[in-house]
């Protein structure tokens, strides 16, 4: 079973003394879904950039199955917050691009691209231009494109951040089904505690200054949804609500104490 492991990584940008991430370890196995939450500045995106190979750790190692990661590669597909689609290519050509880069012939890559488009609910939309799609549709194209390369790991940097709440709920269910189908190890950077709880087999809470893990917990709400349970019933379970409060407490812990120290709490309430 493939594993993407970050061991004791720290990251400094430039010569600034404050590390963005400090001494962080994380294993992502195929078939797992790890979400990373935390306030702005806690190094969530830096963590994903390390895993993707866009940046190298200042200390520590990033490995896939024991091999050191030296840069980005097709085993680790990335979905970006801005969909990062190419407007000069039609929708299906966007999805087929990873296959083209891998040397797959035109007919086969288009057939596979159309399969993935159907899998994200965009059957028959392949000939459209990117700008003719809504935000949610574009993000689904981005996900289809990432999965078309059949990656071992799917790294997602707040892919649903710009979508409205109703679209997000539908995307959550779609993401779980795609994750199950692809068998990839998924890493999701998100601001939404509910999203992390519902989707993940494991949630990591990061705290800023320096970026580090303050809580890691395993969950099974997503698997239970895939087993056929009702998503709204799951999200209103006492166990779900209690877990949400635990994660929120971990996220705001230090902020609350800092604000109390500065006397801001009285003004706020």
């Amino acid at each position: 079973m493939s594993v993407l492991s970050l061991s004791r990584v720290s990251l400094h940008y430039g010569t600034s003394s404050a590390p963005v991430l400090q001494d962080l370890s994380l294993d992502l196995r195929r078939g797992e879904f790890v979400s990373v939450i935390g306030r702005s500045g806690s190094g969530k995106t830096s963590l994903l950039n390390l895993a993707a190979g866009f940046v190298s750790p200042s200390t520590g190692t990033v490995r896939v199955d024991g091999r050191a990661v030296t840069g980005p590669g097709p085993d680790r597909a990335v979905v970006f917050q801005d969909d990062a689609l190419y407007p000069w290519r039609r929708v299906e050509d966007n999805v087929a691009l990873p296959l083209k880069l891998a040397g797959v012939g035109r007919d086969e890559r288009l057939a596979r691209a159309r399969d993935w488009l159907a899998a994200v609910g965009l059957e028959g939309q392949g000939a459209k231009h990117v700008w003719q799609l809504s935000g949610g549709q574009r993000q689904r194209v981005g996900i289809a494109r990432a999965l078309a390369s059949e990656p071992e790991f799917l790294l997602m940097d707040e892919p649903l951040g710009a979508l409205d709440a109703m679209t997000r709920d539908l995307m959550h269910e779609l993401l779980l089904k795609l994750w199950q189908r692809s068998h990839a190890g998924a890493m999701l950077i998100t601001h939404s505690v509910e999203e992390a709880l519902f989707l993940s087999t494991s949630v990591l809470v990061l705290a800023p200054d320096p970026g580090r893990v303050v809580l890691q917990e395993r969950f099974s709400f997503g698997r239970r949804f895939l087993a056929g349970e009702d998503p709204r019933a799951l999200k209103s379970e006492p166990a779900f609500i209690a877990a949400r409060e635990r994660l929120l407490a971990a996220i705001y812990m230090k902020e609350a104490s800092r604000m109390k120290k500065q006397g801001h709490m009285k003004e706020v309430g």
Binding site: P72, A84, L85, K100, R140, E173
Partner: protein, 277 residues
Amino acid sequence: MVDLSAPAALSVPAAASRPGLRRLPLGLVLGLGTFVAVLCLWVLASAQGWASPVFLPAPARVWAALVRVATEGYANATLWGHMGASLWRVFAALVFTMLIGVPVGLIIATSRIGRGILDPLVEFIRPLPPLAYLPLIIIWCGIGEPSKVLVIGIAMLAPIVISTVSGARAASESQIRAAQAFGATRVQLVREVMLPAALPSIFTGMRIALGAGWTTLVAAELVAATRGLGYMIQSAAQFLVTDMVIAGILVISALATLSELALRLTERRFLPWIGKS
């Protein structure tokens, strides 16, 4: 699969945009109005005798000169011969300059070493006036057709290179990183992401380059030309045939406008995504 057809309804309605029908004719009307006003002033000025016909011939005389050169010819060739020669030079220069300028721009944009070597050369060529390097080109390349194309091409090089460089940076960081994550090599990255992202800017560069090309035309046809609009204008000027000079200027202006329009249509046809994402 989950039914996700609902987000399709989320697309923004286009009703908020201003009615485009009213805006286009206004620009057109104003443009034609200016043109007509200048023409009226010109007719008035020559009819009233405000300037000697040697300085400002009447529009009718310019029209007659135009008809004369189109039918009988002037300075060794008919209007079509002059136009063909000039068009060939300008567009040959554009093609050659694109073949050199776009790759040079991409190298400058993507390689620090390439930038270090090529950028100073481009910056050196950029401000040079064509009349200054014309003698040198003639000494080096002779008085034939290649040196004329070269003189125009040099004037076109900087706009093409600079627009390619700035265009190649139009690709967003995530667009570049996405391709890298899919395993794109450096060459694939340039071909699939940077070059297409640069195309809108390259088209703008081509339009500026064409302008520079028409501007340089007269200089290029200054020495040892036997036909061409620039040559026609100079021949007429030597004998104070002012109506023919003005006719030549109007023809150059019309050709420049037409080539600009052709470029815009090409842009709309082949780059429909400009300004859309």
